[in-house]
Symmetry: C2
Subunit: 211 residues, 2 copies
């Protein structure tokens, strides 16, 4: 199923399907038509069918989709049935916010440790993990088989830390530093630019006021 | 210029152009061709020209773009030349992280106050602002002419707080709660789902391992 190249735009929409289907499932809904799903999610039914056709379609359209099956299948495609070991680099407010966001663990992202270059933070306890110095990073990644590093550090430090993580054979970086990381293709990178979404909001305020 | 309906996909790309052009400007680069910009940003030159044509094209292609002019124009389109008054609702780690993210102020987003329903946090100082009780919200929004509310509260509280904000005539909500807010069209909403981007990363890890 993963042989075919699927566009990142489609992939980018899968978590939202997963989220809505999870809520339907929690509310005891067993089946849903693409039309009802489209109304709920405010996308077209045709978009939903096109997206799902990338993965074989997930069952007969006439009968609607089986919610639990679809939720489970999309979770599988997203790799959520596997466990991932995750560390956070940067123990400031954002790093702490992410460490405390328990929902990630439900999805198989296991918080294993937190690091910071600031000696004043070393030993501080964040979700029962003590903040470690950066010197421990390489050995910890190897010993604990860490897959994902979350970067919640300033832009100035992000590039050199990312290069170090590449040397440590990390599989993926979830980057909150305000710089796009361009790393070897073998490393998966997801750049999160919070201010980009704030600027989009600003555009829409501006537009609403001028029309 | 704002009369034409521009797709949210194009709008979603503008902050990234703005960010890259700001860096070029800071590095003293005065002109850049769409080709060089495309290499830097890893998008096609044709995409860049198409995006810019939505706004009249920004100058002659043969000569390249004037970096400062283009940066300034895109900033204007994004509404960044206007000041926006912003409050944060939810004084947990994420709310504090956003309050401390100074870069927003450079873009005209002025942090005016922070609110929380937890009495233990009331009076606590975050970036020289004392956390206020929710009871102050409505009058504060009116007195301080607040445009944007940032929601960094749990999903369970988000919908009722959002409804209250609508009654207070807030212009926009930047929503970090784990639920899509569906509000009247007069309110601009930008939903940020951090776990969606983590799931996308998980997909890409999974895919890399299986191909």
């Amino acid at each position: 199923m993963l042989d075919k190249e699927i566009s990142q735009a489609v992939i980018g929409r899968l978590p939202r399907y997963f989220r809505y289907l999870g809520e339907l499932k929690d509310n005891g809904i067993e089946r849903i038509s693409s039309k009802d799903l489209s109304i709920l999610m405010k996308v077209t039914a045709s978009q939903i069918r096109q997206d799902f056709n990338n993965f074989g379609g997930f069952g007969q359209q006439g009968y609607g989709y089986n919610v639990e099956y679809l939720h489970n299948e999309i979770g599988g495609i997203l790799g959520l049935h596997q466990k991932h070991h995750l560390i956070i680099i940067g123990a400031g407010n954002l790093g702490q916010a992410i460490a405390n966001y328990m929902n990630f663990e439900r999805r198989g992202f296991i918080f294993k440790g937190i690091f910071d270059s600031n000696p004043e933070l070393h030993g501080k306890s964040i979700r029962e993990m003590q903040v470690q110095p950066m010197e421990n990073l390489a050995s910890f990644i190897q010993e604990q088989q860490i897959d994902i590093a979350v970067l919640t550090i300033p832009k100035s430090a992000a590039i050199s830390v990312a290069e170090k993580l590449v040397q440590c054979n990390i599989k993926a970086i979830w980057n909150f530093a305000h710089v796009d990381l361009n790393l070897p293709n073998s490393i998966q990178v997801e750049n999160v630019h919070l201010s980009d979404s704030l600027m989009k909001l600003s555009y829409n305020i501006n537009r609403a006021e001028n029309t």
